[in-house]
């Protein structure tokens, strides 16, 4: 079965406060950095999925996101199937 590299980006849902992102943003002047705003911190989860095709790989991971990797009450997940490689 082919294996797919998948990237899941877990972000806080719009409207949910992101204190970590806000703290990082507030600290930038300390580093002498200007012109940067809207800092939001999420998770980047990479995994390898065995599946017959992209679509199946995506389905498996989206299901995993909904059941386990995120709490849909506050988080969204974006799944990108990055590449396929034969095993």
């Amino acid at each position: 079965m082919p294996a797919f590299e998948v990237l899941v980006e877990v972000t806080l849902r719009p409207g949910i406060a992101d204190p970590q992102g806000a703290t990082i943003e507030r600290s930038l002047p300390l580093l002498g950095v200007g012109g940067v705003s809207g800092v939001r911190v999420g998770k980047a989860i990479r995994l390898t999925v065995e599946a017959s095709d992209d679509d199946e790989a995506r389905r498996v991971v989206e299901d995993l996101c909904a059941r386990f990797l995120t709490n849909p009450v506050i988080e969204d997940a974006t799944v990108s199937v990055a590449a396929a490689s034969m095993r």
């Binding site: 806080l12 409207g15 949910i16 992101d18 709490n71 009450v73």
Partner: protein
């Protein structure tokens, strides 16, 4: 015409809308309706419970501030006072366990430091569904992580709590948090706005759309089976920021220390609406609030959203114009945002304006949100099956001849098992105060805090929380009294005299007459016990609508008791045995048969939850409490543990496990007596026969029944004719349970 469908969607009943119209002498607009809906929510108004709460005893010479303010305050002597409060965050924790619990910690700390006290301790009584269910496990892990994540980072040690597991909490966990702080008596401030022309300064976080209407939608209604209804509540999730709160603590304490604020009030449930109306009405003043001045996290927020948002980590300070520059400076030093958002007026009205001198968006009598709130004498009625349940005595249950397997099963029950998995995730040591850490009957702290001049270096405090839904479901009145007795005895084993009690009444849907009956009974039981034990109630919280899919939780009043130790020069007795020790049971005898009604044994091993609780003698419990304090002060007690969940059997096993020593016990009447949870009993360990006889004599003189149980010896717990299990086996069952369930 008032928009009634809108009012209903905000959680207001038609009668309540009539009432608002009468107060305003006109129809309320949307913003006004929303403000009333949050202030008159069950969570903020106590509309179902307040007529009953008045029966609790609240006075004592050392009580400086009783119920009704942010926190209760009691005098510890030497110019030091202690602030204490308990709160629940049950509903938010069911939806997002980590943030629900985290914001629960944050919220209660603000109650403490808004009164000028430095928070020095947190405790977290928790109730979950069975941990072999993945959802309950997810909730439990998330809640503990949230308390750890917030409490540790905000820099307040979590020094104890409880973990109890029962199927009735599966859909509706209980996450209560108690916080305690210290202050110099002269710094005591109350949340009041006075002085026309003084400014309302909002400190801390920006205001976002998070938690809008949280008190009315989330905390004042149960969980329904309807997915869509639940989904609609979700945007209410708030995210805690302990770093913001830490800076707020430092900034607010400095503000009060330097006398730069007339009053300080936290923004909790009902957000700005509650903070502004309460400060204004308590100060006998009015207030203008300028919506556009409020720093907003998101563009396009409506005034109604700004006024009802429950964004975390915000405080309101009332400041004279002369002090404003100093306040802004101080806030800047701590990187705390500070913004003038309104001013105190002499009108007695709370007016919401779009900007200073702008359009008036709402105009209500400030006191009306609080004083005109509805009070319900809701119908009360004992459950229909009450008589049957009382009559169904567990005496008919088969008693084991070898109690070893049952004892091991109880030790592995999550309500009894070792909680190290939980509390080692908590910083329990900060401030170098923690003399007895989580794991004992009560936490013991040195009485000192940064910025609070030590009254007397050797004073200490003991604190504990207790609750027992199983007992209270059989008999809410006596069950609650037993809970108060247990808490009082827990602090007494640490040698502490009772100072005060706070309580959190976690109950089901108050629109069910059975629930109102439970609540009313529980309050009476608490009142009786508090009177007998000299415990003034200095604060509390009521959490109703704890139900899921139409099923109410067991009535679960949780109490926190604080006691004072006059001289804390050596650590008080631990849950421990000493070599050559002799065990004495105080507060009862084990050679006379006792009932297992309401016990964990009957419930867990036989699914039996009926019968009549063993009678409780409050006067004797009070005598026992006083006796224990004397025995500890005289250095006669080398180990102690109260008899609670799992009865005498579990009590003895826990003493053996903690010290790695065995015990030989004689004259326990039968298996029922071994597992009976009859209240008001403590096992102490004396360091020899003579000392034990001395304790027995003092007990006799004090009118406390007692029995010399046996001696510390061997490597097993051996109870004549009933149990013989190696301590190592007891230890493995007790220690292994939670780590095998939780991650």
């Amino acid at each position: 015409m008032t928009d009634r469908p809108l009012a209903r969607s905000l959680g207001l009943t038609d009668d309540e809308v009539d009432r608002i119209e009468a107060v305003l002498e006109r129809d309320p607009n949307h913003l006004e309706l929303a403000m009333f809906s949050v202030m008159w929510s069950e969570h903020c108004s106590y509309k179902s419970s307040s007529i009953h709460l008045g029966r609790l005893p609240t006075e004592a010479p050392h009580v400086l501030v009783g119920p009704g303010e942010g926190a209760g305050i009691v005098d510890c002597g030497g110019g030091v006072a202690l602030a204490v409060r308990i709160e629940s965050h049950n509903h938010p924790s069911a939806i997002e366990p980590y943030q629900g619990a985290a914001t629960g910690v944050g919220g209660i700390l603000r109650d403490i430091f808004s009164m000028g006290a430095r928070p020095i301790a947190v405790m977290d009584p928790l109730r979950f569904g069975p941990l072999d269910d993945p959802r309950s496990r997810w909730i439990a892990e998330g809640v503990v992580a949230g308390i750890s994540g917030y409490g540790n980072a905000v820099g307040v040690p979590t020094v104890g709590g409880e973990l109890q597991v029962d199927p009735c909490y599966a859909g509706n966990p209980l996450v209560n948090v108690l916080a305690l702080g210290l202050l110099p008596v002269e710094r005591l401030v109350l949340g009041r706005a006075s002085g026309v022309g003084n400014l309302a300064v909002l400190l801390g976080s920006t205001t976002g759309r998070d938690g809008i209407g949280g008190v009315s939608v989330l905390a004042s209604a149960g969980f329904s089976a309807d997915e869509e209804v639940e989904a609609a509540k979700r945007p209410n999730v708030q995210v805690g920021d302990p770093f913001e709160e830490k800076r707020l603590i430092e900034a607010c304490l400095e503000l009060l220390e330097r006398g730069l604020a007339v009053g300080v009030q936290d923004l909790g449930g009902a957000g700005l609406t509650c903070a502004t109306s309460e400060t204004a009405s308590k100060g006998g003043a009015g207030m203008d609030v300028w919506v556009a001045a409020v720093p907003q996290r998101e563009p396009g927020m409506l005034p109604v959203e700004v006024m009802t948002s429950e964004s975390q980590e915000r405080m309101l300070a009332i400041v004279t114009p002369d002090d404003l520059a100093a306040v802004l400076d101080l806030a800047d030093r701590w990187d705390v945002r500070a913004t003038v958002v309104g001013e105190v007026t002499g009108t007695g009205r709370l007016r919401i304006l779009d900007r200073q001198a702008g359009e008036v968006l709402a105009d209500v009598p400030a006191a009306s949100l609080e004083e005109d709130k509805p009070q319900y004498a809701r119908p009360r009625q004992p459950p229909a099956d009450r008589a049957d349940r009382l009559a169904d005595d567990p005496a008919r249950l088969p008693l084991p001849t070898d109690c070893g397997p049952d004892l091991l099963a109880l030790l592995a029950h999550p309500s009894i098992a070792d909680t190290t998995w939980v509390h080692r995730q908590y910083d329990s040591q900060l401030f170098l105060n923690t003399v007895v850490a989580p794991g004992a009957d009560a936490a013991v702290l040195r009485l000192k805090a940064p910025g609070v001049p030590a009254a007397d270096g050797s004073k200490g405090i003991a604190l504990t929380t207790d609750g027992n839904g199983r007992w209270c479901s059989l008999d809410p009145r006596q069950g609650t009294a037993m809970v108060v007795v247990e808490a009082a005895l827990n602090i007494a084993t640490a040698g502490a005299r009772p100072l005060c009690l706070v309580n959190n009444l976690n109950f089901g849907n108050p629109e069910h007459p059975e629930v109102m009956w439970q609540l009313s009974e529980a309050i009476d039981g608490m009142a009786e016990a508090c009177l007998a034990l000299d415990l003034p109630v200095v604060g509390g919280n009521v959490s109703l609508y704890n139900e899921s899919q139409g099923r109410d939780i067991d009535p679960t009043p949780i109490v926190g008791v604080v006691g004072l130790i006059d001289e804390l020069d050596v650590p008080p007795p631990a849950v421990e045995l000493v070599e050559g020790g002799v065990l004495v049971l105080l507060g009862g005898r084990a050679d006379r048969a006792a009932s297992v009604a309401g016990s964990l044994w009957a419930d867990h091993l036989h699914g039996h939850r009926s019968g009549q609780l063993s009678p409780l003698d409050l006067a004797r419990a009070a005598r026992l409490g006083r006796l224990l304090v004397e025995l500890v002060a005289d250095g006669l007690v080398f180990g102690a543990h109260d008899v609670s969940d799992g009865g005498l059997g579990v009590c003895l096993a826990e003493l053996c496990i903690a010290s790695g020593l065995g015990a030989r016990v004689i004259e326990v009447a039968d298996a029922s007596t071994l597992f009976s949870e009859a209240g008001g009993r403590v096992v102490v360990c004396a360091d020899g026969d003579g000392a034990a006889a001395g304790i027995a004599r003092r007990a006799l003189a004090a009118g406390v029944s007692h029995q010399i149980l046996g001696t510390v010896e061997g490597a097993s717990l051996a109870v004549e004719d009933l149990v013989s299990v190696p301590v190592l086996e007891l230890d493995a069952a007790w220690r292994g349970a939670l780590p095998s369930l939780l991650r």
